[in-house]
Every structure is written in C-alpha cells, then in structure tokens.
C-alpha cells in the first residue's frame, strides 16, 4: 500500500513546499470546477512532483480557467487548505 499521501514524508515540509509553489504561482489559487477521485494513474503530482502510485488516491482537478492538474489526495487537501490563505502583499 502506498503512503498516506504518497509524497513528502514530513508534513510540515510538505505544507511548506506546497505553500511556496502557490506563492510562486506554480499552483493555482482557485477552486476546481470538477474533481475526479480514483486510483493513481502513474502521473506525477503537480504539488510534490512524486509519482502517484496505483494504490494511492489521485485527485484530478479541472480548473475553471481551463486545464487540469493532478495531485495525491493528501497534497490536494493541503493545497485547498493553503491557497485561500496565500493572498499576501
């Protein structure tokens, strides 16, 4: 069985890494138009850059502005919790 999130092992580091990506504009700051939850398809998680194994839960997010991003479920949960708090400056 894959790890709970399938990516960075240290939670604080994982949160920090995802937050940095949001602040740098590498991850969007918007809610998904539609999400797909299913088994990992072997793609790479846009948040932690690790592969999403078949026994991990993969979330695919269709963005309202177009395009689709793919994340581990654990990374998705962190991203949706963090992006609304990233409106700095």
């Amino acid at each position: 069985m894959g790890s709970p999130v399938g990516c960075m092992s240290e939670p604080a580091g994982r949160v920090h890494g995802i937050r940095q990506k949001i602040l740098a504009g590498h991850l969007p700051k918007e809610n998904c138009r539609m999400t797909w939850y299913g088994p990992g398809t072997g793609g790479v998680c846009v948040a932690c850059e690790q592969p999403i194994a078949a026994d991990d839960v993969e979330v695919e997010c269709d963005l309202p502005t177009g395009g689709t991003i793919r994340l581990h479920r654990g990374c998705y949960d962190i991203w949706v919790a963090e992006w609304p708090t990233c409106d700095v400056g």
Partner: protein, 144 residues
Amino acid sequence: MPVTIVVIDDSEEYRLIVRGLLRSVHDVTTFVGDAASGAEGLALVRRERPDMVITDLVMPGLDGVELTRRIRLELPKTKIILMSADIEDAYRLMASDSGADAFVSKQMITRTLLPVIGDVVRREAEALDREAKKLLGLSPARKK
C-alpha cells in the same frame, strides 16, 4: 443543517454501499431516498429537491450524464457526484462536460466518497462566502 442526499444507481449493491457510508456521517448528511434508474431518480430529485445527488454514470435509459444535465437545468444549486467503475478518459470527459461537481471511481468508493462529499460542500460554502463578501463590498478589489 445536514446535507440532504439522493442516491441513484441501477446496482443495488452500490446503493447499499453508499447508504452505508452515509450512515457513518448521519450527523451532517440526511439520506432522503434512492432510485434504481435515471428516470426514477429524476422524479425523486424533482420531488425531494435534495442538496446533493450521488449517481451512477452508466445506467440503462437515462444515464448519469443526461441526468446531470437535466438536474443542472432544473435545480442548478443541487450538487452532483457521479460514480463509475469505468474510469477511462472518455468517461471522465463525459462527466466533466455534463456539469457534475465530482466524479468518483467505484474502485475506491469506500476510501473516497466521504472526502468527495466534504470537498464539494466546502467548495460551495467558499463560493457562497465569496459572493457574500462581494455583495458587502469586502472583496480586495472593492476595498481599494
């Protein structure tokens, strides 16, 4: 207030699985009924006007995609979660085009359905919050 939910699937097994999962969160959800076909399901949705519909994608007669389109037209605020054992790209595209809020693989339903319900409810709450702030002139753009 609990989220009212209708379940539609021609498979009795999956209707029972979903009902069982909902039972574990009965404090925040209320199961209001289920149906074994798209047509029966549409009639139930029209009658009950639930907050959320969890429906199978592939069903004889009125399938999940067409059902989603009809519910979207008649009850645009109702949230819709599609589920399917078929997860090929073509099915995902159909689900996305239908206007559903989420699509869940039946292969992982016991691990994913409750988080998906929570995710859809959260997105709706955030959208309402943003709308309220905009109306009250509290959005960053209006403050400037």
